[in-house]
Subunit: 239 residues, 2 copies
DNA sequence: AAGCTAGGCGTACGATGTACACCTGTCAAG
DNA sequence: CTTGACAGGTGTACATCGTACGCCTAGCTT
């Protein structure tokens, strides 16, 4: 069996090609553009041919998500705070490249890149940051929630496909005059925010730093490698 | 026109009934169970009848999301930290009741409850917490990202419909023996976490407190009503 | 030379959202 | 009381989706 072949010298399909094409398709046209039929078209093949390489659409998506995980870097040779900062921004960027993956990174059956990634993050938190087990879990959940949640916001506000947002933004504002007058604090956002040089990158950085600062203050930090904060051994205050 | 009537004494439909039934349907069977045909069935009506009350499925979903927003409380008569804590847990609980809404709260055209909610939160941050405008935006984005992201994690880990998770959990672990041996830090999570009395509620609380603590330390806080933290006027450290 | 098999093809089915035309009970206007 | 408009429920129909099932063939193994 070789790759060139079949009817007409066309190259044969394989799982990797299917997954890559699927990612490209979804990147270009959004999640709803990812259709078995369109994917088959793009590969010059009949829809049912895909099912020789993926069991069904769910499994296709699992494979695509694992490709995204493979793009996320978890550096191992730096202090934990730098590593976690890097992995967070790396994840955000991957999700910017693949908006269809937002909200789907932890659904379905995890692939090898997924497992590798989570293991690497836990290793960083346990071995490098020396968090006690339970604290490492806290930290992981907190960081993941923030990163995934931010990506979700960024996607829906900045637009899944770069057209939507403008339209939606306009639709809300155009519901004048009965619109923003009743909501002065919303009106402030609409009128003031554009003047501030708002960028999602800065916004992301702010929250990420605040979270990493908070984690740096948690107990069981090694004295040398910790971040900027003093490390008073405190849980976040009870309320 | 009265509500009883039409063919056979059956009560007439209206938008509110359609929306409520749609929410119940999605609550019970997950998002993919929400089908115009099933919804019509449940209302004892033919599918096309629904289109006299909602323009299309997108608008139906917009209306449903607004019902969820209406369930989220933003107390106005307490200090900002308490208010924000309450609104966050209130949002989390609403999303637990309506898992189909996770990741969809800010999509589509915002309804009145949505606008009211966002205005109330911004009012709390600007008027009560006295954050400078840009800081209020930072705070809002951070809290929202966390709450939405946490809800997303909780949904996919605990299961959209309460069956899934167990199956998925098992599927991963059962991929033995080539499974967890290569991932010692993941293995630790699988074996240790069940022993720790892990609950999502505690987990949520941890991150939320950390974030609110961090925000309490931000500049322009009034001296009296702030939370527990000291308020050194610092942005999160640059890195 | 024989035949096994991987992988592409064709057809077909049920489910979905919804366009369009129709039909009917209710109520306001005369 | 009659009439006509109209709000709202009905029926049919279509494009599109995922995918089950069976066939067909090229090329490798024996």
């Amino acid at each position: 069996m070789q790759d060139t072949a079949a009817a007409g010298g066309r190259e044969r399909l394989n799982r990797a090609k299917v997954l890559r094409a699927a990612v490209e398709l979804a990147d270009g046209g959004g999640f709803e553009a990812l259709t078995m039929r369109r994917l088959a078209d793009r590969l010059g093949v009949v829809p049912m041919a895909l099912y020789k390489h993926v069991a069904d659409k769910r499994e296709l998506l699992d494979g695509m998500v694992d490709l995204v995980f493979a793009e996320v870097e978890v550096p191992a040779d730096v202090d934990w705070r730098t590593a976690m900062h890097h992995r967070a921004t790396s994840m955000r960027q991957a999700l910017l490249r693949h908006p269809w993956a937002v909200g789907r990174m932890e659904t379905g059956t995890p692939g090898p890149a997924n497992l590798h990634h989570h293991n690497a993050v836990m290793r960083c938190l346990r071995r490098d940051a020396r968090f006690p087990f339970r604290m490492a879990v806290h930290a992981y959940n907190l960081m993941d929630a923030y990163v995934y949640g931010f990506a979700l916001q960024e996607k829906t506000l900045a637009g899944d496909i770069p057209a939507e947002a403008a339209r939606r933004q306009k639709a809300v504002v155009d519901r004048q005059p009965s619109g923003l007058e009743d909501y002065p604090y919303l009106a402030e956002v609409v009128t003031e925010l554009p003047k501030t040089g708002f960028t999602f990158a800065d916004e992301f950085e702010f929250g990420l730093d605040l979270i990493l600062d908070g984690l740096s203050r948690m107990p069981q930090q090694p004295s040398g490698t910790t971040g900027s904060g003093s490390n008073s051994p405190l849980r976040p205050s009870a309320r």
